[in-house]
């Protein structure tokens, strides 16, 4: 289950779409069936052709070095599903066609035959609380990545030292002071909880933390590919 929906999985049906679609989905000829998902669900993605994505390799390696099993460390990006069968809120940078920072984009942009996708649903939360996760994420739209945060993150990943202090006792080598994809979800989740709690997933929350966390339902909501019917 933690491998998510692979691009090699056969389509579970077909769909006729008359509206505009991201170039990736039009080219590949498939979209994601998100009908089983609900607002506030977590979306994890990873590139399957990792050789073409050195950033993803570095993040995965750093997460593995941080003690995560490969099946969790392989996830390199996180987003919040908004509940309309298509859109996600995510923090991203150097994403062609979009400004750096927190954006709303079509999940079908990941339908390029190269990305694996996984969905997770927060456990012990009402539908209204999960909706607040989506609201919490959207309230950050337009906020940018902190440049120093990107630098810290990249240096920790590329140096081979990883995100965590070697002893594993003194906590992370770097501290999250800005938004990255996984802290966007973390902030939105904490916004939904209200009150004053110990922060879920620690000071340095990565996609691997979200993949491994028991704070989500054990069974992932089902995802499948739909072939775009040719008219």
């Amino acid at each position: 289950m933690s491998d998510g929906l692979l691009p090699s999985a056969p389509p579970g049906g077909s769909i006729r779409i008359d509206r505009q679609l991201p170039l990736e989905a039009r080219t590949w000829g498939r979209v994601l069936d998100l009908s089983q998902l609900e607002a506030g669900d977590l979306i994890l993605t990873r590139s399957c052709e990792s050789a073409s994505d050195p950033i993803s390799i570095a993040i995965a390696r750093a997460q593995e070095k941080g003690g995560f099993d490969k099946r969790h460390a392989q996830w390199t990006h996180a987003a919040v599903y908004l509940g309309d069968d298509e859109h996600l809120c995510e923090a991203n940078f150097k994403n062609g066609g979009y400004p750096n920072g927190v954006i709303i984009r079509s999940a079908f942009g990941y339908c390029d035959g190269n990305h694996a996708i996984r969905a997770r649903r927060p456990a012990r939360m009402t539908a209204k609380q999960r909706l607040r996760i989506a609201i919490g994420a959207v309230s950050n739209v337009g906020k940018s990545y902190s440049i120093s945060q990107i630098k810290d993150f990249a240096m920790a990943a590329y140096s081979g030292k990883g995100f965590w202090d070697g002893t594993g006792k003194r906590g992370p080598r770097i501290k999250m002071r800005g938004l990255v994809c996984s802290t966007l979800y973390q902030d939105a989740y904490n916004f939904a909880l209200q009150g004053g709690y110990r922060i879920a997933w620690g000071i340095l929350c990565t996609p691997a933390h979200l993949s491994a966390s028991p704070d989500f339902e054990e069974n992932d909501p089902p995802l499948r590919w739909l072939e775009i019917a040719k008219t």
Partner: protein
């Protein structure tokens, strides 16, 4: 005649004064068991992350659980004031009451919020000795 049934500005002011007094009484009592904490990360309009010296796990507070201690010693609920106006920044000193839980409260005292560094440094030094 209708005016007689509507609260006069004075009466409304009296009610809000009563509420303020009630809040002040409540938070003055609760603040006695407060833990000192430092702001670790601010998400304007949404969240405040803080760390305490006694707990390795930082806390996160929604803004509905934030109160402000005024110069005269009274307490009022946070009402969207810009963090900068309250002197709140990463490293600022704050107080944590009844955490963790839905009724946990973060007390911002603008007079002490500007004090930065001490607790965090002590916590770091303590951790350093713990692991070496």
């Amino acid at each position: 005649m209708a005016n007689e049934q509507e609260p006069t500005p004075r009466a409304a002011g009296g009610e809000s004064h009563q509420l303020l007094e009630q809040q002040t009484k409540e938070f003055t009592a609760r603040a006695k068991g407060a833990l000192e904490a430092r702001v670790q990360r601010l998400v304007p309009g949404s969240l405040v992350y803080v760390e305490t010296a006694s707990d390795d796990h930082p806390f996160v507070f929604g803004l509905s659980n934030v109160v402000i201690r005024q110069i005269d010693g009274s307490y009022s609920r946070y009402c969207g004031e810009p963090f900068g106006q309250l002197g709140l920044a990463v490293g600022s000193s704050v107080l944590v009451v009844d955490a963790p839980g839905p009724d946990a409260t973060l007390i911002i005292d603008p007079a002490r919020a500007s004090q930065t560094g001490g607790l965090l440094s002590r916590a770091r030094i303590r951790n350093l000795f713990k692991t070496r």
